[in-house]
């Protein structure tokens, strides 16, 4: 925005740059325009106050603080243009701190750029393709370096780490000796006892080959509560001796077996809490009987004349009109 002629003149006068002719012209304008005159006076007043405002003293030791923070060391430019003698003020704490924050990757990129410049290949590195290839190369080198440090992807020797936890939950496999249908007692492995119980419950009389029962054969749908009736498993069908404390090892329940996804927010639906659960009828009006507050609970003797002092009733509480009404009565 440019200033008007009057504003330009005002500015020139305030700055002390106006010629005699400009001053006269401004005086003429001000004489015919009260608002402009008021603006000029206000601005002149403000400028006078600003000019009259004294300097603020810097804190003592500011110079020393600045000089002490400026680190003395040689710079590349100074080294190339100046003699090597004497101290040099070429770097500061701030710049040094920034330099230390630079990563090795940035340094590598800069190094490659410098190499590219020194090799006089601006045409290649100057192109987008060239920059992309250099960046991709640096990234590949960096990834290769990282892979040697953190061993990713893991080698065959290190895959045990992903399997060992599963092995802890894998129970020993049953052998043919473990299956002894029809003889619930005797020396049996805990798993064999379990199979005995299951086969007995199902009413099967045939031999159960251990390998024939894989985890995949018994699907969750098969073992529904409807299939196995509580009556099917009688107390006699499970030999107390066949259930060893070792059957349920703490290791069998891994924290990983219960995933956070198993408990879905949808499991508790808003509909499960019905407004009808709290019925209005639960609070009956009859619960508070009028008879509970008896007139006899407040006795006239409880309010003594001494409890109300004359000072407690301010004159302002009684309006003049009310007083007049009393007098007229």
């Amino acid at each position: 925005m440019s200033l008007s002629q009057a504003e330009t003149l005002i500015q020139a006068v305030l700055d002390g740059d106006a010629s005699a002719a400009e001053r006269a012209e401004l005086d003429r304008l001000l004489a015919s325009d009260e608002a402009l005159c008021a603006t000029f006076e206000s601005m002149r007043h403000a400028c006078a106050m600003l000019e009259a405002s004294p300097d603020v003293d810097p804190p003592p030791g500011l110079v020393e603080s600045i000089l002490s923070r400026a680190t003395l060391r040689g710079s590349s430019r100074a080294a190339t243009h100046q003699s090597l003698s004497g101290e040099r003020v070429v770097a500061t704490d701030a710049s040094r701190a920034r330099r230390t924050k630079q990563s090795w990757f940035t340094g590598l990129v800069h190094l490659l750029k410098e190499i590219g410049m020194n090799e006089q290949k601006p045409g290649f590195l100057g192109t987008t393709k060239g920059k992309f290839l250099v960046t991709a190369g640096v990234a590949a080198v960096a990834l290769a370096g990282l892979s040697t440090v953190i061993d990713f992807p893991p080698g065959s020797n290190n895959t045990a780490g992903t399997i060992v936890p599963a092995e802890r939950h894998r129970a020993p496999q049953n052998s043919a000796q473990d299956i002894n249908v029809g003889s619930p007692s005797g020396a049996q492995s805990s798993n064999a006892g379990a199979i005995n119980a299951a086969s007995g419950a199902a009413g099967s009389t045939g031999a159960v080959i251990p390998n024939a029962v894989t985890p995949n054969v018994v699907s969750p749908s098969v073992a529904s509560p409807d299939v196995v009736s509580p009556n099917v498993i009688s107390p006699n069908s499970v030999n107390p001796n066949s259930v060893s404390p070792n059957m349920v090892s703490p290791n069998m329940v891994s924290p990983n077996m219960v995933s956070p996804n198993m408990v879905s927010p949808n499991m508790v639906s808003p509909n499960s809490v019905s407004p009808n659960m709290v019925s209005p009828n639960m609070v009956s009006p009859n619960m508070v009987s009028p008879n509970m507050v008896s007139p006899n609970m407040v006795s006239p003797n409880m309010v003594s004349p001494n409890m109300v002092s004359p000072n407690m009733v301010s004159p302002n509480l009684v309006s003049p009109n009310a007083a007049a009404g009393v007098r007229s009565n």
């Binding site: 925005m1 440019s2 200033l3 504003e7 330009t8 005002i10 500015q11 305030l14 603006t39 206000s42 601005m43 002149r44 007043h45 403000a46 400028c47 006078a48 106050m49 600003l50 000019e51 009259a52 405002s53 004294p54 300097d55 603020v56 810097p58 804190p59 500011l62 110079v63 603080s65 600045i66 000089l67 923070r69 400026a70 003395l72 040689g74 710079s75 430019r77 100074a78 243009h81 100046q82 004497g86 101290e87 040099r88 003020v89 070429v90 770097a91 500061t92 704490d93 701030a94 710049s95």
Partner: protein, 182 residues
Amino acid sequence: VETDDDQALVDGCRNGDRAAFATLVTRYQRPIYNAAYRVLGNADDASEVAQAVFLRNVERLDDYDSQYRLFSWIYRIAINEAIDLLRRNRREEPLDEGIELADIDGAGPEDRYRDRQLSDRIQRALMSMKVEDRVVLTLRHFSGLSYKDIAVVLHAEEKTVKSRLFEARQRMGELLADLRIR
């Protein structure tokens, strides 16, 4: 502000001459501190900016273009540092328009006390203005820069500086309307 031998100081700093750097700091620390104080309104912040200006100055000496005057270049660094600090502290917005300004009419007889009161009053008025207005008033009235130098510092055209300064002076006139000149 001396400018005759500024270039010699710059050359000395580039050559690693610590005495030249000390002279440069001593010469400009007061005006830079005052400019920072007027823009920031806080002595600690002004001190921080003043230090940062000279440290930056040393870092960027190679960037200094000798066709401009040294103090213009230093002021530019100072204003940028001050505005950066305001942004970091989220204090770019002017203070409340309804800020209660101190009345100096009832000041005591001591000149120093009166000056202090006047300075505080003006500072509070400045802080109630937009940063752009505050900066241009500071550079013109407290730092004494010409329109041309202010344009260099602010990287703006001279006519823009004049226009902005006119508005800022108008605003300051309104804010100090009740203040009498002694």
